[in-house]
């Protein structure tokens, strides 16, 4: 419906004129932040052009099949396990009433408070010679059959039991709020519970379930500590070996690129499956009403739901507490307190920086009046998909190059000897954390920001107040809860982070996660219990607190 007078609107010339008019400083700032976040990936891509290192072809011949095979074994086995545990428990708590359902509903989230590598240490202790299982069995006068879990099967079990809550949370949300009316319709049509679940609810919930599953798989591919401890060769352990043992950055970069490729394939698969079948239509809505059952059935459900909670939380925590008592005297000293404070300090600084970046990214994109900028700004949150080890390598390359250039220039031009500016400093570490955890901060802030109607800031502007002041006076007070949850969530994630920290942490600084890893690597896994418990308890308290905060809203 182009009109005579309007046709020149779409000429290139007038488009460019408008683009020039609409480009403001916010558009440029948004692009700058996205570029800053994307720098590690760009660095890896550029480095790829320099060709692989000497050992690359050796690695391709001997190890690559192992890396790929193990990674895919983990992807499939973990998918299977987390789907059964996550979807099954979600359906039971959303659909049925049984004893302690309310308590179990939030206990099921708690395994997320324990990093996978710590679950791995704990289970190694349970199944080891002279481990907790043997002690208990002997005490019960039963014969001990040793199960070796230090292999890829054990790794898949450990990763699944600690990561299934991602699937649980996303599918429970769907079961609770999205399809109640359809379920009622199905019941009214005389369709039984089993058939309703498999034929109706499961296909409907698929996008939500797969969204949770993708998060699990990203964490599986990100894992370093558990795989390393169980002696399973994966991409991340390969990257570490290339970087530290072989000292061949080029090979690490090639492995990183392959890993990024796998992750993005997963993301594309997730997007494709969402588009492929539009089941999340607006027709599905309504709360699900819980059904009561007979007493024995209710207790059966209770035990079914309890199993993953016991496996994922109580057994590892119990094992760690037992070890903590054995090693308290040795581990808990002044140095340890200093280390904890350092760890909390780094996590706090990082969460503040990351939340600042996320907030700026959200609002700069909003204030920019070019539509394309808004889609580009969302690229900034893809850092979460990139495994920590890869982010670390990606940060290492440009900062090292810059520092070398800087030292050289200072030396030749000014004759001043300087040290590294970024590399091996807190700056590089905090930068890497922000890249990786930007999405963790972005999502809660964005969702609260979306609840503030656009007309609120617009009316502030109409009253003569500019963007920035409007944000401080009007929007910030209204999105405070979102910002607070973002700070807490990033804080927890930084505290738990291992691979990235191992590569980038400054020499004289240590974190609880690294300390636990060092103990475990030095054949002192019992001593790893206290730093691990510190991480778990600091991660658990905010999870409960956040849950309360969200319920209050």
């Amino acid at each position: 419906m182009k009109q005579a007078g309007s046709s020149d609107i779409f000429s290139i010339k007038s488009r460019l004129r408008r683009l020039k008019r609409d480009t403001n400083r916010w558009s440029i700032f948004t692009l700058a932040i996205v570029l800053f976040i994307a720098l590690p990936v760009i660095a890896i891509a550029v480095k790829l052009l320099e060709g692989p290192g000497e050992t690359w072809w050796h690695l391709v011949d001997n190890l690559l099949a192992d890396y790929i095979g193990n990674s895919f074994f983990l992807i499939f086995t973990c998918s299977f396990l987390v789907l059964i545990m996550g979807v099954g428990t979600a359906w039971l708590v959303a659909r049925f009433e049984f004893p302690f359902r309310k308590q179990l509903e939030w206990l099921l989230i708690l395994p997320l408070a324990i990093p996978s590598y710590i679950v791995a240490y704990a289970y190694a202790g349970v199944f080891d010679y002279g481990g907790s299982l043997e002690l208990i069995l002997r005490w019960l006068n039963l014969e001990f059959v040793r199960i070796d879990i230090m292999n890829k099967f054990g790794l898949a079990f450990v990763l699944s039991i600690s990561l299934f809550p991602y699937v649980y949370v996303s599918s429970r949300a769907f079961f609770l709020n999205q399809a109640g009316n359809l379920l009622e319709a199905s019941t009214m049509l005389g369709v039984g519970e089993f058939k309703s679940f498999f034929r109706l609810m499961l296909p409907l919930a698929r996008p939500a379930i797969i969204a949770g599953l993708i998060l699990v798989l990203m964490e599986v591919l990100n894992d370093y500590g558990a795989a390393q401890y169980f002696g399973v060769n994966t991409f991340t352990t390969g990257i570490f070996r290339a970087w530290f043992s072989l000292e061949e950055p080029e090979t690490a970069v090639y492995l990183s690129a392959l890993l990024i490729f796998i992750v993005f394939a997963l993301i594309l698969f997730e997007k494709w499956q969402r588009k492929n079948i539009q089941v999340t239509g607006n027709k599905a809505s309504g709360r699900t009403h819980r059904k009561m059952g007979t007493k024995p059935m209710e207790w059966l459900k209770f035990f079914l739901v309890l199993i993953p909670v016991i496996l994922g939380f109580f057994i590892p925590v119990g094992q760690l507490i037992y070890w903590a008592f054995l090693t308290a005297e040795k581990v808990f000293d002044l140095d340890f307190i200093m280390l904890s404070l350092q760890s909390f300090g780094i996590a706090l600084i990082t969460s503040l920086v990351t939340v600042l970046f996320a907030t700026l990214l959200i609002y700069f994109a909003k204030w920019s009046s070019i539509n394309g900028i808004k889609s580009i700004s969302r690229l900034g949150i893809l850092g979460y998909a990139i495994p920590g080890a890869v982010v670390a390598i990606g940060i290492m390359i440009p900062t090292l190059a810059f520092d070398k250039w800087f030292i050289n220039t200072m030396d030749t031009v000014f004759g001043v000897k300087t040290g590294f500016l970024f590399n091996g400093t807190l700056v590089a570490l905090v930068y890497a954390y922000s890249v990786r955890f930007l999405a963790v901060a972005y999502n809660p802030i964005e969702s609260t920001a979306l609840k503030v109607s656009n007309s609120i800031p617009d009316s502030s502007k109409m009253l003569g107040v500019g963007n920035f002041k409007t944000f401080l006076k009007i929007e910030f007070p209204l999105i405070k809860t979102g910002i607070l949850s973002a700070v807490i969530l990033v804080f927890i994630d930084v505290l738990k982070e291992l691979p990235l920290t191992l590569i980038l942490k400054p020499f004289h600084i240590n974190t609880l996660a690294v300390k636990a890893f060092e103990y475990a690597s030095d054949e002192m896994v019992m001593e790893a219990a206290i730093p691990s418990l510190f991480i778990i308890f600091t991660a658990t308290i905010p999870v409960i607190f956040l849950n309360k905060l969200l319920i209050k809203e």
């Binding site: 419906m1 009109q3 007078g5 309007s6 020149d8 609107i9 779409f10 007038s14 004129r17 408008r18 008019r21 609409d22 009046s369 109607s453 007309s455 609120i456 617009d458 009316s459 502030s460 502007k461 109409m462 009253l463 003569g464 107040v465 500019g466 006076k473 009007i474 007070p477 209204l478």
Partner: protein
């Protein structure tokens, strides 16, 4: 004082036009209503004037200052235009005093001015209340006070009464426009309700599919609408097709379209053009009755009458002076 010059705005990369070549002028102190169905582009038009949207083409000039064009854009906060949003958009974390004084930070007597404005809208004494403690009508008046407080050169009200029920709406409408007249501010208000427009606007601008259909004074629009569409906005109209013209035996200019307003049809009275009809169906509508008529030539029309007791067979007619004529 306000001049809009062939403004165009498209969405979805030019696939749909919200506004096409819209032009009009507004005099100082006038109250202008922009009337149109939803999707006619009326909200887009006021958002363009406010600076919250950017035009693809054309320019907006207020008091000889160019606000929007393809090359230049004055940001909304620098335009000195007051905007009352459809959903009021009061700041939920501020009390009324802070809400109203928010835009007048540059004045010294900030507090007095805010209290004065609250007094003007009849809410003095409530300055310590928070928006959620107010009724819809009160929130509306706070939004008005807040928009008027910085002394804007132009006030825009976007669907100001659409969130209120019918009784409150009438009451508030007269209150709000009394206040606006008192301050003498030039005002534009958007509505889909022609009653709103007719009762308070000096001038009315009719938008359809992003184009200006007609702009005139309220009384002129009613008497001399320039299209069947405009006529039908201000009450039920019946288009006088060729068949109807034959039925009533009134030959009209074949090069033009014609219509007659429902209220100008008389039942069982003497008129210039008459015909007889059979009542097929009566629908009781409270204060009126809708009749489905079958005219003697077989044509069916539907009319509304105040008369609740109509016979099964009636005489229906109209006078030539009431016929509305539109250029084909």
């Amino acid at each position: 004082m306000l001049s809009i010059n062939s403004i165009s705005k498209s969405f979805d990369k030019g696939k749909t036009f919200a506004l096409q070549e819209v032009s009009f002028n507004l005099k100082e102190g006038d109250v202008c209503a922009i009337v149109g169905e939803s999707g006619s582009g009326k909200t887009t038009l006021v958002r363009l004037i406010a600076g919250l949207e950017r035009p693809d083409h054309g320019s907006i000039i207020l008091n000889n200052k160019e606000l929007s064009s393809v090359k230049k854009l004055v940001p909304p906060e620098k335009r000195k235009i007051g905007l009352v949003f459809q959903e009021y958009a009061l700041f939920p974390h501020f009390d009324l005093l802070k809400n109203v004084s928010y835009g007048i930070s540059k004045l010294k007597n900030k507090k007095e001015r805010a209290l004065e404005m609250l007094d003007l809208v009849g809410l003095s004494g409530l300055e310590k209340r928070y928006p959620h403690q107010l009724s819809g009508g009160q929130q509306q008046r706070v939004a008005l006070a807040r928009a008027l407080a910085p002394n804007p050169s132009l006030l825009i009200l976007d669907e100001p009464f659409s969130n209120l029920d019918a009784m409150l709406r009438m009451q508030l409408r007269s209150q709000v426009f009394e206040i606006i007249k008192k301050t003498g501010v030039t005002a534009i208000f958007v509505t889909h309700d022609t009653q709103d427009a007719l009762s308070v606007a000096d001038e009315i601008l009719i938008l359809q599919h992003g184009k200006v259909i007609q702009k005139d004074q309220a009384s002129n629009l009613y008497i001399k609408p320039n299209s069947v569409y405009v006529a039908s906005l201000f009450g039920n109209t019946i288009q006088l097709s060729k068949e109807l013209q034959t039925a009533f035996d009134c030959p009209l200019n074949p090069n033009c379209n014609h219509a007659i307003r429902n209220e100008n049809l008389s039942i069982n009275e003497e008129c210039e053009y008459v015909t007889h009809a059979r009542v097929l169906k009566k629908t009781f509508m409270g204060n009126a009755t809708q009749l489905l008529l079958k005219l003697d030539n077989g044509h069916q029309i539907s009319v509304v009458t105040k008369d609740t007791n109509v016979a099964d067979r009636i005489k229906i007619g109209f006078n030539s002076t009431d016929v509305l004529e539109f250029a084909g």
